[in-house]
């Protein structure tokens, strides 16, 4: 082997060895290149979840000077998988015990069954000095509207709940004294994009809704 070829081979081997040494460091650098705090805020991000993923979103916006905002995004599939593992107090196997199911001699399950079988219509309408309450069944949705006027005309609080009857049925499907949360979530995952709960008062705005995006608006 000529002296020139030998020198060339040595140099190539040393360069190759040095390059190989830097490969893991480069990979580490790439990992580090995305610092923990450099990612954009949720409001700037677009969705990356699959089309079939259903997300439950909760947003609480406080109207105080600091403008506290809480955003929670939970995939329904995750909630369905995690809830059965929680066995604490009244929670077990994705169900929650409600020992007061016979509230004031009213059997909740029977009541729900009766509402399920009944035609659309307004079931409860209360118009009082302090509250307006409306409970209705409309296009297979259970609708509850409450307007609290007790704090004066300018400080009204308004609650609007709209739940598909399928979800209500699933919730009460477990037994007399139990709510089946997993079954309710499963029923909810089959629904389209919709707003479930809206609460507006002078201090806070709360919104719970369902869609296919993994970030809040």
């Amino acid at each position: 082997m000529s002296r020139l070829t030998q020198s060339f081979l040595v140099r190539t081997a040393v360069i190759a060895a040095t390059s190989l040494l830097f490969v893991p460091l480069g990979a580490l650098g790439q990992t580090a290149a995305a610092p923990a705090s450099s990612t954009p805020s949720s409001s700037e991000k677009t969705t990356t979840s699959g089309a079939k993923d259903r997300w439950l979103h909760v947003r609480v916006v406080s109207s105080d000077a600091k403008g506290e905002t809480v955003r929670v995004n939970v995939p329904l599939e995750l909630a369905e998988a995690v809830l059965p593992t929680v066995n604490h107090n009244r929670m077990h196997d994705g169900k929650v015990k409600i020992e007061c199911a016979h509230m004031n001699d009213v059997d909740l399950k029977t009541l729900v069954e009766a509402v399920h079988n009944a035609k659309d219509g307004e079931y409860v309408t209360v118009q009082g000095r302090e509250n307006d309450v409306r409970v209705a069944k409309q296009n297979n949705y259970l609708i509850v509207h409450v307007l609290d006027k007790s704090n004066g005309k300018t400080r009204n609080s308004q609650v609007e709940i709209k739940v598909p009857m399928k979800v209500v049925d699933a919730l009460f499907s477990a037994g007399k004294d139990e709510l089946d949360l997993v079954a309710a979530l499963h029923a909810l995952s089959g629904q389209g994009d919709m707003e479930l709960v809206s609460v507006k008062d002078t201090d806070n705005t709360v919104r719970v809704w369902l869609d296919s995006k993994n970030v809040t608006e």
């Binding site: 030998q6 040595v10 060895a17 580090a32």
Partner: protein
């Protein structure tokens, strides 16, 4: 000279293999900055693969003690991590309160927790697979500790 080249190549190759194995699961990153007199600044990078290895080396009694305390929450933690792996880039919780900002999200298959408040910043980044390994190991130790039926 040729011998030196061969040795360099061998050493380089070994180091690459060792580096690739050490970092194949990513890095656990913890950054804590307290912007005040005497405030601590901690910046820690740990290869994620080292954690399960360290758990194997940890005293069994201490692991069982820790697992016993966490026994009730381990199945929940495992289920959450298992499901979170399906959402490698997602925002789960965000709290904004004036200048305070807390975020819990997954980014590139890692659990990322960011806490920013005036005078203090905490950022934690940990691969979900590492948390899964840790909970699995703790669960195994919790079961080892459980009295046989």
């Amino acid at each position: 000279m040729l011998l030196l080249a061969k040795a360099a190549l061998g050493l380089g190759g070994t180091l690459v293999l060792a580096g690739a194995y050490t970092f194949h699961e990513g890095v656990i990153r913890v950054d804590v900055d307290e912007y005040r007199d005497g405030g601590s600044h901690v910046h820690m990078w740990v290869p994620a693969a080292a954690v399960p290895m360290a758990m194997h080396l940890a005293p069994k009694r201490d692991l069982m003690h820790g697992a016993e305390h966490a026994r009730e929450f381990l199945p929940v933690a495992r289920a959450i991590i298992k499901e979170m792996k399906k959402y490698p880039d997602a925002e789960f919780v965000e709290v904004l309160d004036g200048a305070d900002h807390v975020r819990i999200r997954t980014h590139d298959g890692k659990l990322q927790i960011d806490v920013d408040e005036p005078g203090e910043k905490v950022h934690v980044l940990c691969p979900l697979s590492t948390i899964d390994d840790v909970t699995r190991e703790l669960e195994a130790n919790a079961h080892a500790d459980a009295p046989s039926a």
